[in-house]
Amino acid sequence: MKLAFQLAYKNLMGAGLRTWLNAGVLSFAFVVIIFYNGLIDGWNEQAKIDGINWEWGNGQLIHKDYDPYDAFSIEDGHGKLAEDKQENLTPILIRQANIYPKGRMMSIRLKGIDPNQTTLRLPTEILNQSKADFPVLIGQRMAESAKVKTGDEILLRWRDKNGTYDAATVTVAGIFETNVPFVDGGQFWMAIEKLQEITLLKDQITYFVANETYKPKEVEGWNFETQKYLMREQTKMIDAKKIGGSILYIVLMTLGLLAIFDTQVLSIFRRQKEIGSYIALGMTRWQVVRMFTAEGGMYSIFAVILGAIYGIPILWYFSKIGIGFGADGSEMGIIMAERMYPVYGLGLVFGTIVIVVLSATLVSFLPARKIARMNPVEALKGKVQ
């Protein structure tokens, strides 16, 4: 086998530009595959961290009647939980309300949260620091859709537990920026005690967000949803992106591998006399097959080296400055940062190298098998069809 590689190396080096063109095409596929997968992994990683920090925490303890996917369940999906069972949990109460910014009416979700909480990254301390009578906290998306800014006053109308309408003017105490649309679009955050008070729902909670030290236990009337379960939609979306990515992966790999396959087929046809000479000089047919296969495999090694030379600086650069897509994930209901930072794990890089090398070796072996059936006399004459 060592001889096969020695000879293959000499042959490829001797082939000059043709070798580097093939290696170049394959290296491009190789770098793009790593970049794309790195981007998806980076997005996944970032989305996971953002989701945990802003929304999911370490899981959620949800009232049994509340279904996050059913707006009608907000009305009755709340309940009390004994104080001693609320350790390491941040309570949140959700109600529906309307706001009237600049004369327009918008439906929103009013979310009450403990202003002193530290489980989520929501800057709820602003609610404590505000001097306004009725401070609320909103996200950038909400601010943009309602066309309001910090300090603006808006008319808020809600219904209490008896169905009686009430209204008040609230002040936007702060606007936060987040990549997580689920805590931003169409939502107003306020102190939970205030919300419980105005809705006559004292001590009522829709769900709790668990912090890192929370130990899940059975609580009657409440369901604990794990972090993994809460992430499932996002995970599904990322998996779908990965499938989309694998199509790109297959297309690029096919282009690179086709170039090698084509070269090998032509090479075996064009180098018949050479093959005949190898056999006449004492190589077995399978030794020649191995040599041609090694040549194909070596294209991929050259592609890896070439890819590393120009790919490492490019991939490193993008991992530092990130890539802005100018797209808002909230439109798709997914967590998506404005800038995504690709993450290149060792598994991704080495996995891609192994796949590229194995595939290139395989596509080289397929045409090279023909040599094993070649008649050396015909090959020496260059008459094999």
Partner: protein, 236 residues
């Protein structure tokens, strides 16, 4: 000269042609002894190259037998055939068949690489072989930079570097001018005398025939005449 290096007995070779068959060699009974400088001569299509290919274990007889250095060609596996060629047989082709991406040195070294000889051993043998053919200063050149005569001398060095018992030369002077043809033949004759290597040529070139000790005339796949000739000293 008593050790028989090649024996053919009732050797027949047929090739399929369309629905029928073409008999390229018909009932060939020959034997070659160690150190011979012989030629299979005859017009194109007489079966010279086919016989040479069978003797070089690149092909096998349809019927009969060909025994080379005690080994029956038709009984050899691909691997055994390759081993026989690698260790004992050198080939010289009409169009040299040098490996284009290798240098002269690497072309000559190739057979020794297959024998897994050490680098020192290879270097010594290659330089010696290049000296035999007077190309030691061209070791680093690529075949594309060589003239026809130089290319064929590299092919001789490549065939001889492993010191084979048998060298099969298929029309070795067909692409050379008279001056180069004589130079090549003189080199081969010298190696035949010094190293006792058996040379068997396939040729229809009068210049080559002038150097040979034995001429086996093939006509339509049959041995028409097998004659031993005395080579004039002036020819060498």
């Amino acid at each position: 000269m008593s050790e028989k290096i090649i024996i053919t007995e009732n050797l027949i070779k047929r090739f399929p042609v369309g629905d029928g068959e073409f008999t390229a060699l018909n009932d060939i009974n020959l034997s070659f002894e160690k150190g011979e400088f012989s030629g299979i001569v005859g017009p194109s299509g007489s079966g010279k190259t086919t016989l040479l290919n069978i003797m070089g274990s690149l092909d096998s007889p349809t019927e009969g037998s060909c025994t080379v250095m005690g080994k029956r060609i038709s009984d050899l596996s691909h691997k055994q055939s390759a081993q026989l060629r690698n260790l004992h047989i050198g080939f010289i082709f009409q169009v040299y068949n040098l490996l284009p991406v290798y240098t002269v040195y690497e072309n000559v070294e190739f057979a020794l690489l297959l024998q897994k000889r050490s680098a020192t051993e290879r270097k010594k043998a290659v330089m010696e072989a290049l000296e035999w053919v007077g190309l030691e200063k061209m070791a680093n050149k690529k075949p594309s930079k060589l003239s026809g005569g130089e290319g064929q001398r590299v092919a001789i060095a490549r065939a001889m570097v492993k010191r084979p018992e048998l060298v099969l030369a298929d029309e070795p002077t067909a692409n050379l001018d008279a001056k180069n043809a004589h130079a090549i033949l003189q080199t081969m004759k010298k190696l035949n005398e010094e190293l006792k290597t058996t040379f068997i040529f396939s040729t229809h070139d009068e210049k080559v025939m002038g150097y040979l000790n034995r001429l086996i005339h093939l006509e339509d796949g049959k041995v028409a005449e097998d004659e031993w000739v005395t080579v004039k000293k002036s020819q060498l």
